[in-house]
């Protein structure tokens, strides 16, 4: 078990990941975190189990399928899908991120944003944005996300703020109402995944994330 992660996403966000109500960028954050954090993975699988129980409960609304649905499905049944090799990353980027980048760190298209910091936007739906950040050792994190909710997860190196130390797998949830200046640890250049939704205020995250506008 990996017990080295000390800063986790909230239970509410993990629940929303299981229920399928988060925007894509936040799903990417959670999938990446779960790839590194067995504790949160177990929690999400437990929420999935509740979803299964809900689907299976006698009281759950059912909707009859059309006549002939079974036979039309039987006609579509085919050979089993080939067994894919395990999807597991040995690199810096967990597999869900590699799917968006097209490879590990060497495939990232960095763009300089000043002070030695680089970033790479990842292609997700517009409801929220996701990007990789590269912060030189000892440099300050770029001032970002102050209009909304932001989650930052360390992938390489570490950063420190006034109170805490964040290393690989740790997730910081930034509250824009609090002034703070995280700084990359001097030990190594720091690479992070940052997701943000400018329309979301931290305190209102959960109710608003669960609102129907994400279900277009």
């Amino acid at each position: 078990m990996n017990d080295s992660i000390h800063h986790h996403p909230s239970e509410e966000i993990l629940f929303a990941y299981s229920a399928g109500t988060l925007p894509e960028a936040f799903n990417l954050m959670i999938a990446s975190h779960l790839s590194l954090c067995d504790h949160c993975r177990a929690l999400v699988e437990s929420f999935d189990a509740v979803g299964g129980a809900v689907i299976d409960a006698a009281s759950t609304p059912t909707a009859a399928l059309s006549d002939g649905a079974l036979s039309s499905v039987l006609d579509r049944l085919d050979a089993p899908a080939p067994l894919a090799p395990p999807r597991r990353s040995a690199g810096v980027l967990p597999s869900p991120l590699q799917d968006y980048v097209g490879g590990d760190l060497e495939a990232v298209s960095w763009r300089p944003v000043g002070m030695g910091v680089r970033q790479a936007l990842l292609p997700t739906s517009a409801a929220a944005s996701a990007r990789l950040l590269y912060i030189p050792a000892g440099a300050a994190m770029p001032d970002h996300g102050h209009h909304g909710m932001e989650m930052t997860m360390v992938l390489q190196g570490a950063f420190v703020d006034e109170d805490d130390y964040f290393a690989r797998g740790d997730v910081e949830i930034a509250d824009p109402s609090v002034e703070h200046t995280p700084i990359a640890d001097v030990g190594a250049d720091c690479i992070c995944l940052a997701v943000t939704d400018a329309r979301l205020r931290f305190k209102g995250l959960v109710p608003r994330l669960l609102q129907p506008f994400f279900r277009i």
Binding site: M1, E11, E12, F15, A16, S18, A19, G20, E24, L28, A31, S32, L34, S35, D38, R41, A42, L43, E45, S46, D48, A49, V50, G51, G52, A53, V54, I55, D56, A57, A58, S59, P61, T62, A63, A64, L65, A69, L70, S72, V73, L74, R76, L77, P80, A81, L83, P86, R87, R88, P94, S95, P96, T124, S125, V206, L210, P212, R215, I216
Partner: protein, 207 residues
């Protein structure tokens, strides 16, 4: 062997009406979860269409109902429920009964399909754990997981209607976890035991 009926005795219904359901989850004679697992093994090992038809007749209307409650129009929900069942057939060899009940596995397939069709979005999934689906799962793990799943289902079934509706709505995308916790309380204890079980299993495998 491949069919089952859901019946509730009159006395149990009476007990429900009198509010005893929370004290004693009602016992029902239904297809036990273990039977669905046997069906999945028949599909995986023998491409057994009779077993598939039994799973289809129980779960496809539930998946369609779930998709409609989540905002899909009837014809789209129908099409997607059929797709979910085809996926179940094609990926039967990936089902791991030591990690999920058949119902849970179907829920995750249906949820991902819902995101795909209603939002036109990919749903990022965590990377695979370091053991493969081809490793035969430990039977004790399978049994523990299925018993826990049955208890979870019984706990949800035993809730008063209003509270159970809240849980359902949360999975249809309408409510937060905190609202459920505040308003029901009961299933969260079961969720916590489920988490302990999942963690124990992870520790066991990753030693």
């Amino acid at each position: 062997m491949l069919t089952g009926t859901e019946t509730i005795t009159e006395s149990e219904e009476a007990a429900d009406r009198m509010g005893f359901a929370r004290l004693k989850p009602r016992r029902k004679s239904f297809v036990p979860d273990q039977t669905w697992i046997s069906h999945m093994e028949l599909i995986r090992d023998h491409r057994d269409k009779e077993a598939f038809a039994a799973i289809f007749s129980h779960f496809a209307p539930r998946v369609k109902g779930f998709l409609m409650k989540s905002g899909a129009a009837a014809d789209l929900a129908e099409e997607c429920a059929q797709d979910v069942m085809v996926t179940l057939w094609n990926k039967a060899h990936l089902f791991d009964p030591s990690r999920a009940s058949v119902a849970t596995w179907i829920f995750t397939i249906a949820r991902n399909r819902r995101i795909d069709i209603l939002r036109k979005e990919n749903r990022p999934e965590p990377e695979d754990l370091p053991w493969g689906p081809d490793a035969e799962p430990d039977q004790a793990d399978v049994l523990a997981l299925q018993q826990e799943s049955s208890r979870l289902k019984a706990a949800i079934q035993a809730l008063p209607d209003a509270q159970r509706d809240l849980i359902q709505k949360a999975y249809f995308g309408d409510l937060s976890h905190r609202e459920i916790a505040v308003q029901t309380g009961l299933p969260l204890g079961t969720i916590k035991s489920r988490i302990r079980l999942a963690l124990d299993r992870l520790r066991h495998v990753m030693k």
